[in-house]
Amino acid sequence: MSKVLLQVEDLRSFFFTRKGVVKAVDGISFHVNEGETFGIVGESGCGKTVTGLSILRLLPEPAGQIVGGKIILDGTNLLELDKKEMRTYRGRVISMILQDPMTSLNPVFTIGNQIAETVRLHQGLRDEKVDEEVISALRLLDIPSPEVIMGNYPFQLSGGMRQRVVGAIAMSCHPRLLIADEPTTALDATIQAQYIALFKDVQKKTNVSIIFITHDFGVVANMCHRVAVMYAGKILETATTREIFKEPKHPYTSALMESVPHLGQKSGRLYSIKGQPPSLRDLPPGCRFFPRCPVAEDICRQEEPSEIEISEGHFVSCWRVK
């Protein structure tokens, strides 16, 4: 049994807006083991990104606030750290990759300069040593001729190459946890596959734990050891990737699976879940998925189901599952 690196307990992150409180993340719990890739899947707006930002404590304040829960990394509750201590965690212990590689690099600095910033910030090295670290970070992400790339500006690189550079920045201080927020969404299919293979390789070399946020089950199958399925700010099902694909227990999970086209599928319309996810400002009582659920019962309308463990490590929140 591998060691737990990150334990998130009952995390609640709300946005306080003029129109009301948006419960973007409403009491979720999960853990990530060392050297493991944990996927968070869900529709857009279900709270995936907010979960990632909450772990780094980078919600856009003052609107976004973590109102409850615990985020325990290696025995330390991140929510109890002061601002300065939290900064020493960012980039050094926890890192994050954003979705769009075209805009996440500073246009006026060279690649080398931007990676060096992270290294200098956290490692306090002399200049020659900094260069070495920069080159080794670029090598880790399999970037060809790092000495040349170092002197380039972001606009001189292709999208795929930029996303690798973003990866190199994230990995430059050897973090223990990497949060990847849809890092492949902006890339085309072939580059996507390369990038995923690259990350598996990086993980093998560094034993970094990865939280992989995505809406793509194909990526999950390829990349993740375990998955959580999120819906309207809650986790509905958590299991190993194998189990989720083999035996999805929650009706939402099965519905999601069915709406992905399969090879050899007979022609006809692709399945889609009817209706829209509920507004996070005005959640229905009972189960959040019940208005769209094909197998809903009376109880689903009245009471929210609690999470139960149906087999080891497989958690489901649904009245239909016993």
């Binding site: 780094l56 980078l58 003052p62 900064r87 020493t88 965690y89 960012r90 980039g91 050094r92 890192s95 994050m96 954003l98 769009d100 805009t103 996440s104 690099l105 500073n106 246009p107 006026v108 600095f109 910033e117 992270t118 910030l121 956290h122 500006y153 606009f155 973003v166 920045i169 994230a170």
Partner: protein
């Protein structure tokens, strides 16, 4: 089979080369103009044929040398008190340039600092700083300058303070807008992710990215400051006579514009040239500072 020519390679290459040459002209000419003016200012006592305040009532209103009654003893003519225009213009460069440099240094630094803090920090800080900016913009600058001149007496520092005291506000406004935009940029989010402090983000990630509008603003201010100084001189709140600044020279000649145009004309040309050179240099710098254009 004859190949179709899709692009005329030689022509394109030629155009690229000529663009490079033009690109250098836009640098060399304004730099030369500014350099000449700066040298004139520094070595004024050596270059000027007469002292700037030497009055010679017998030689009043002498036209420039190329006109009928002109003489080479006063190449650009003399003013209403017989003072040599060229000498005064050379000395005037000292005051006009140093006022402009001083005012811009003060207003640009204060305005940029406040603008970045206001835009990046946001919230109440932003609201407070922007109200102060609004108030500064609403005040009539000339009135403040007159007030200052009346209370501390006219002089070089009065002019500098009078122009600076409200001059930072447009900078703060412009820079705040840019900072507000950059605050939401992904690379700023990325900087937060790697654990950069707010001060570091403002200095290293926001500031370099607002250089372009800042430089344009600075180059445009050169003319504005020199002209404001001229207005203040006219109202008696500027550089007091007999000292020469381009601004008060233009104003000295205003009354005689139909009979002795040269009194205003030559300092006016000097102002025009410096303003134009500043604008050209600003353009060139903007292109140079933008890494995207650096290779073209």
């Amino acid at each position: 089979m004859a190949t179709t020519k899709i692009v005329d390679w030689d022509k394109l290459e030629g155009r690229a080369r000529s663009r490079r040459i033009f690109f250098q002209w836009t640098f060399i000419v304004p730099v030369a103009v500014l350099l000449i003016v700066v040298i004139m200012a520094i070595f004024a006592p050596l270059l000027a044929p007469y002292p700037y305040d030497q009055i010679n009532m017998t030689d009043r209103f002498m036209p420039p040398f190329f006109m009928e009654e002109g003489s080479t003893s006063h190449i650009l003519g003399t003013d209403n008190m017989g003072r040599d225009i060229m000498s005064r213009a050379i000395y005037g460069a000292q005051i006009s340039l140093s006022v402009a440099a001083m005012v811009i240094a003060i207003t640009a630094s204060i305005g940029t600092a406040l603008g970045i803090v206001s835009g990046y920090v946001g919230g109440r800080t932003d609201a407070f700083l922007m109200r102060v900016t609004d108030i500064s913009l609403a005040f009539p600058a000339i009135l403040i300058a007159l007030l200052l001149a009346a209370s501390i007496g006219p002089g070089y520092w009065t002019v500098v303070i009078a122009i600076s005291i409200l001059g930072w506000a447009p900078y703060a406004r412009l820079i705040r807008g840019e900072a507000l935009k950059l605050r939401e940029a992904d690379f700023v989010a990325q900087a937060r992710i790697i654990g950069a402090s707010p001060i570091r983000i403002m200095l290293k990630h926001i500031f370099p990215n607002i250089m372009n509008p800042l430089i344009i603003m600075v180059t445009l201010s050169v003319g504005m400051v020199i002209l404001t100084e001229a207005i203040l001189s006219y109202l008696g709140a500027g550089i007091p006579p007999p000292a020469a600044s381009w601004g008060n020279m233009v104003n000295d000649g205003r009354t005689y514009i139909d009979t002795a145009w040269w009194i205003s004309f030559f300092p006016g040309i000097a102002i025009g040239l410096v303003v134009l050179a500043g604008n050209f240099l600003g353009d060139w710098l903007r292109d140079k500072l933008d890494p995207r254009l650096r290779q073209i």
